[in-house]
């Protein structure tokens, strides 16, 4: 009976599952797997410079391609360094397979060199995890892991493989089936869909509140959303994670909602009579003060995860289903019953009034580059190239969400739930690996970019032409903004002191470096960045003290938006301070 080592079995199953790219970093406890990968014809290994980079790169790859991202790291520090990326993928429902080496089974628990309790550490930040103690179990475990990571609500699955299990052999004859214990929602119950369609058809002020679940459900879900919006005539808003599912150029688009969402989106959420939440989860960044959240609406919630129902907001009609399928069912029912698209004239005229507030306007300057202006110009210069945009976390992320506009899914990669600084550059690398011909830009801040800046070498090694566009205001801008709003401008530790010379740094890594601080020269500088056939770091020196508005302060309702800096008080009561 033919036998193979655990490492070889693992690689065979990865190939069987369609894996062509693995992001990883070698170390003692994964050497047998790396040996099996040596000059492998079907699997390309991308050597990152820090395991956090591996996890975020895999996230970027997954988000941009729709396929699961695969991570391979060693035991102990290799695994613990990857934990932030695993937690990030868990919060944002990104399918990852994380393969971690472990010390040999007979050494587990002995405080061996580079031993960490990886399954213990990742238990509550992964969708599922395994410790494989016998190579004969590997094929079934890995097959099941791919099902769990990608089906239902996607998420990261960790497989911890002790070194002796990688070396020991097992029969390859046994066709171990993927175990079928994992069940997940698919189509919705038609009774629920009928009721939902009736509610929408009879609404005077409906709204579609969409989220990342639509992106996860696949491109057909985005198409269904467009059709549903057109049929119902309802306005569409989206969470940070859902941008691109409905085109920003579409007529029904209100912009993003939530803490830094548009005035019209938040007012429409507050005033609607029927809210249809599609693949979103009523996150605290979206709802603001819960007891004042959309007080008069009937709420329909379509989500594939039953635990998202009634978690923070009580809904009237929970529908546990794949959001793409449920929307398709709604469309079928709508058409089958020959409902007419309602003009909703009064509702749209109120929305037009809110739009007239022009909440995203900002003070212009001919002397300095305003950060919003930089995003606008970047958008104008790249919008015909269907770019993939990644971000770090902070003000630049929110400005990008507000001023860069997405017309297609899988083009917007950002750390929403966990809010991980250092996500953007490795995510851009992963997205570029999955889309070699795409224009991939990491919109960054000067503080965030330093959290995984070592990944510049990865881009150099694989000749990935990623662009890093840094809005450099020399502050951890979002921290400074909150200190201004909440702590009377006591700027505790939020100044980005001792910054590197980003142009010199770019050159040190073999990148091109560009610096610009003049609004008149910005377009040319962006053109120069785009014309360069290789990685570019763009140090865009922006107005230092701009804040990101509109903003719903923590603990406030949608109707209490701060639109401009002159509405800021500088203090906050303890109840509000206690909220994140």
């Amino acid at each position: 009976m033919p036998e193979k080592s655990g490492a070889e079995i693992l690689i065979d199953i990865l190939v069987e599952q369609g894996v062509d790219t693995v992001f990883g970093y070698p170390g003692g406890a994964v050497l047998p797997i790396y040996d099996a990968l040596f000059q492998h014809k079907k699997i390309k290994h991308v050597l990152v410079r820090h395991e956090a980079g591996a996890a975020h790169s895999a996230e970027g790859y997954a988000r941009a391609t729709g396929k699961p991202g695969v991570v391979l790291v060693t035991s102990g520090p290799g695994a613990t360094n990857a934990v932030t990326g695993i937690a990030d993928a868990f919060m944002d429902s990104i399918p990852l397979i994380v393969l971690t080496g472990q010390v040999a089974t007979n050494l587990i628990g002995s405080d061996a060199f580079q031993e960490a309790d990886t399954v213990g550490i990742t238990r509550h930040c992964s969708k599922h995890n395994y410790l494989v103690k016998d190579p004969a179990e590997l094929s079934a475990v890995v097959r099941e892991a791919f099902v769990i990571a990608t089906k239902g609500r996607p998420g990261p699955v960790v497989i911890d493989i002790p070194k002796n299990v990688q070396v020991a052999t097992a029969s390859t004859d046994v066709k171990s089936p993927a175990r079928s214990r994992f069940t997940y929602a698919g189509e919705a119950d038609y009774a629920e869909i009928n009721r939902a369609v009736e509610l929408i058809a009879n609404a005077k002020a409906p709204i579609l509140y969409t989220g990342g679940g639509i992106i996860n459900s696949g491109p057909t879900a985005s198409e269904a959303l467009r059709e549903l919006a057109e049929l119902t005539g309802a306005p569409v808003t989206s969470t940070l994670m859902g941008l691109g599912a409905y085109p920003a150029s579409g007529e029904a688009w209100l912009g993003m909602l939530g803490m830094h969402g548009t005035y019209e989106a938040n007012m429409a959420m507050n005033q609607c009579d029927v809210m249809v939440c599609l693949g979103a989860r009523f996150d605290d960044r979206v709802t603001g003060r819960l007891d004042a959240f959309s007080p008069n609406s009937i709420k329909i919630h379509v989500d594939i995860d039953r635990s998202s129902m009634n978690k923070t907001v009580r809904v009237d009609l929970p529908i546990v289903a794949d959001v793409g399928m449920a929307m398709r069912q709604m469309i079928d029912v709508w058409k089958g019953r020959k409902y007419k698209t309602q003009p909703l004239t009064e509702w749209w005229s109120r929305i037009t009034g809110w739009r007239a507030v022009d909440c995203l306007s900002y003070p212009g300057s001919t002397q300095e580059i305003m950060p919003q202006y930089a995003i606008e110009r970047l958008f104008e210069a790249t919008k015909d190239k269907a770019p993939i945009i990644t971000t770090e976390v902070g003000q630049h992320q929110m400005w990008a969400a507000q001023h860069f506009h997405f017309d297609a899914p899988n083009k917007w990669l950002t750390s929403g739930g966990l809010g991980t600084m250092g996500y953007g550059l490795p995510a851009a690398i992963g997205a570029q690996m999955g889309n070699p011909d795409a224009l991939v830009i990491d919109i960054a801040g000067e503080a965030s970019i330093q959290m995984n800046i070592q990944e510049m070498a990865t881009a150099s090694q694989y000749r990935l032409p990623v662009k890093v566009f840094i809005l450099n205001n020399e502050w951890m801008g979002m921290v400074r903004q909150w200190q201004e709003l909440t702590y009377e401008s006591r700027y505790s530790e939020s100044y980005s002191d001792s910054l590197p010379d980003f142009v010199a740094l770019a050159e040190a890594y073999g990148w091109k470096g560009i610096r610009c601080d003049d609004p008149a020269k910005l377009d040319d500088a962006i053109a120069e960045m785009l014309a360069h056939d290789g990685p570019v770091m763009f140090d865009c020196r922006v107005h230092k003290t701009s804040n990101c508005f509109p903003m719903i302060p923590s603990g406030a309702a949608h109707t209490d938006m701060i639109l401009h800096a002159d509405q800021v008080s500088g203090t906050m009561d303890d109840e509000a301070k206690a909220l994140v």
């Binding site: 399954v119 213990g120 238990r123 410790l131 769990i148 214990r181 635990s307 009634n310 009580r314 206690a578």
Partner: protein, 171 residues
């Protein structure tokens, strides 16, 4: 500012789970990481082929939290079924306790008399001690233990609650 407390309800949940390494840690840890309470937890293999265990958890929380607890349990891969006995209707709950009492003379006689009333059995005896075995609902055991405190209680071991739905059907 002060931390607010909410009114809670007691619920008995039973979970059918895969009998594999880490399942209990996954469930117990999920309760901790999401800030839920566990008043008692029991687990034992219940299937002929040793692949399935049944876990009984007694928890407390406001009704929306109980609903979340059930949903979060169901989300775990090795958890196949969650039943809220409290919500599902008439059910029985039983717990077993071992109660050790030291004493001589009248105290010892009184312990025996009370044990008899509560239908506790003696499973170990020396000239100055007993171990009683008692089963029943948690309140009966609470009462018995507090009575034993008066007559020389040394220590108590309790299993935590197991429960089943009344009637012919499986829960």
């Amino acid at each position: 500012m002060h931390i607010k407390q909410e009114l809670t309800e007691r619920h008995v949940l039973t979970l059918t789970v895969d009998n594999e390494a880490g399942t209990l840690a996954r469930i117990a840890g999920m309760f901790t990481s999401r800030g839920y309470n566990i008043d008692s937890l029991t687990v034992a293999d219940i299937s002929e082929d040793h692949t399935t265990s049944r876990i009984t958890i007694v928890t407390k929380g406001p009704p929306p939290v109980i609903d979340q607890i059930i949903a979060q349990c169901e989300r775990l891969i090795p958890v196949h079924k969650v039943t809220d006995l409290t919500e599902a209707g008439p059910h029985v709950e039983r717990e077993l306790a071992l109660v050790k009492v030291n004493g001589t003379g009248d105290q010892r006689v009184e312990a025996m008399r009370l044990a008899d009333i509560y239908r506790a059995r003696v499973i170990d005896a020396t000239v100055n001690s007993f171990i009683f075995e008692i089963t029943g609902g948690p309140e009966k055991i609470d009462t018995f233990v507090s009575l034993m405190r008066e007559v020389g209680l040394v220590e108590v071991g309790r299993t935590g609650i197991v429960g089943l739905m009344r009637g012919a059907d499986a829960s």
